[in-house]
């Protein structure tokens, strides 16, 4: 029953099977594995900005992507980026710290394996461009690293979670001070909806419907020793996300 309801969504049946198969050992999975907790649907119109189901409240953390699912999502996004750009010409991947940076490196690795191309990877810290600096104590600034000139290039901004869109807005401003790229695109591992600005991702690993109070926790082996995406129940809006 569960399987058919997922395949009805028409996307990535392999991931669905994987999820179903992994459920019994998934200690982090909270009980029911409510269908809405994960959706392979790639159509943003269906999920982005939509309110999560009222019955979806959970007091435990829910696993929404495991290591294999993250790897497949990265592989697909890497394909899509190369396809959209018609190759790797003038392509630059700019990760937004903290977790956008290892994600950008993963995308570059897939591209190298696919087409034997070395796509430059950089880091773009947006802290000082945020619009909420005054609303909390001084924020730590991350690292910015520009591997090549962005002038005239195709820059793909890479981040872990797309939420309000404010981080991306800050990233566009930060990028503008470094040069004038020909094209800027956005790739995110998780789009959790609830946009507050007219910003849209070009490449999405997974659409994850959430409640505003929840926290989407992306953990990557490079930094956290484990690859997984979970939804943590939260008490209030999480300002650390974007």
């Amino acid at each position: 029953m569960l399987r058919s309801s997922f395949t009805a969504l028409g996307y990535r049946p392999d991931a669905v099977l994987r999820r179903v198969a992994s459920r019994p050992r998934g200690g982090l999975l909270s009980g029911t594995g409510a269908p809405h907790a994960w959706s392979g649907n790639s159509d943003p119109a269906v999920n982005a900005g939509s309110e999560p189901r009222p019955d979806g409240a959970s007091l435990e953390s829910r696993l929404v992507m495991n290591a294999d699912q993250i790897a497949r999502a990265c592989a697909r996004m890497a394909h899509q980026i190369l396809e959209a750009n018609q190759g790797a010409n003038d392509l630059v991947l700019m990760g937004i710290p903290t977790r956008g940076v290892p994600l950008a490196h993963r995308l570059a690795k897939v591209m190298d394996e696919l087409e034997s191309v070395r796509v430059p990877v950089g880091a773009l810290d947006v802290t000082m461009y945020r619009d909420d600096l005054r609303r909390q104590p001084t924020r730590a600034v991350g690292h910015t690293d520009l591997p090549v000139e962005v002038e005239g290039s195709t820059v793909v901004l890479v981040d872990d979670v797309l939420y309000s869109g404010r981080t991306v807005r800050a990233a566009l401003d930060a990028l503008g001070d470094l040069g004038r790229p020909r094209v800027v695109r956005l790739a995110v591992l998780v789009d959790r909806g609830h946009r507050e600005l007219p910003i849209h991702a070009d490449h999405v690993g997974s659409y994850v419907p959430t409640r505003t109070g929840e926290h989407v926790s992306v953990r990557l082996a490079e930094l956290d020793g484990i690859n997984q995406v979970t939804i943590e129940p939260g008490s209030g809006p999480d300002r650390g996300e974007s």
Partner: protein, 310 residues
């Protein structure tokens, strides 16, 4: 962190945070748009009761590159020259709604006093013979850069020996550096004639030596202090010539330095007095790096103080 009044206010983690952020800030110098929006809408006033070129201009550039509005007030040409007191001047400027006051004053403790009177952040840009914390921070930044193999190399100052040479008694740069370098774990050796060592120096966390030539082969950093003109006739040493012989970084001494060691000087230099032209322009002289670091470190400090909400 609310004010920056003394290098003693900073612990090792805070110093490392400021220096790491300064590394990020230094990248702005090489960008086409030398501006970050972090302090947009903030007002910083440079209140300078004493002459200064590099400190004032680097605070001004630092504030402007962070998009703050920076206003310079110097004693000459302001109401201070009409006899207005420090308190009235500070209260007047603060009443205009500024967010931070950068104060240089000839009286030790003036910035600390000002911080009691007003709500704005106060930064000590040099007070009398007391302290100059941003100078010590930029020196530490320059030293760290010199010895670090890569940006990720968490340089341990422990095991590094810094010789500070010259007029210790009247030097706020020396005081702030002793405090900061000691917090970072470096060994500081003060080198000066007995007349230019302050009373109570025995209680400082330093070694003291009157013989420059004995210290020179041991020091990883040789930091030369400026001999202020007014000291030359003050009976602290017989003649400038004799001072150079005993405590100047002359060409022969340049050759006696430890391999890999570097030279610092807070400026402005008296070439031929405390430092020879050969030493000032030597390949291992970090003097211009210190000036460049001044902007980055002051951007970092301004961001730490003003970057967040109240």
């Amino acid at each position: 962190m609310r004010h920056l009044l003394s290098a003693a206010d900073l612990d090792r983690d805070q110093i490392t945070e400021i220096l790491d952020l300064a590394e990020e800030m230094s990248l702005v110098q090489g960008r086409p748009v030398k501006k970050l929006p972090a302090l947009r809408g903030r007002t910083v006033v440079n209140l300078f009761f004493e002459d200064s070129t590099r400190t004032r201009s680097s605070f001004e550039i630092a504030g402007k590159w962070l998009s703050a509005d920076v206003i310079n007030i110097s004693a000459k040409g302001s109401s201070v020259s009409k006899g207005e007191s420090l308190r009235d001047t500070v209260l007047t400027v603060a009443a205009m709604g500024v967010d931070a006051l950068v104060i240089r004053h000839h009286a030790s403790g003036a910035p600390w006093q000002a911080s009691r009177w007003i709500d704005a952040h106060v930064l000590n840009a040099g007070d009398g013979t007391h302290e100059h914390p941003t100078q010590a921070l930029l020196d530490a930044f320059t030293i760290r850069r010199h010895f670090r193999r890569s940006v990720d190399d968490q340089l341990n100052f422990e095991g590094k020996t810094v010789a500070i040479v010259g007029d210790i008694t009247h030097s706020r740069v020396a005081r702030s550096n002793v405090l900061l370098l000691n917090t970072l774990g470096a060994q500081v050796i003060l080198v000066a004639p007995p007349t230019l060592l302050p009373s109570g120096v025995e209680s400082w966390p330093v070694l003291v030596c009157n013989d420059f030539d004995q210290v020179l082969p041991r020091a990883d950093i040789v930091m030369m202090l400026r001999v202020q003109r007014e000291r030359m006739s003050g009976g602290y040493f017989p003649t400038p010539r004799e001072y150079t012989i005993g405590y100047g970084l002359t060409r022969p001494r340049l050759g006696a330095m430890k391999p890999g060691a570097a030279i610092c000087h807070p400026g402005p230099m008296n070439r031929g007095l405390e430092i020879s032209a050969d030493a000032a322009d030597a390949a291992n002289s970090l003097i211009l790096d210190q000036v460049a670091a001044g902007v980055s470190v002051r951007m970092s400090v301004l961001y730490e103080l003003l970057g967040g909400g109240e």
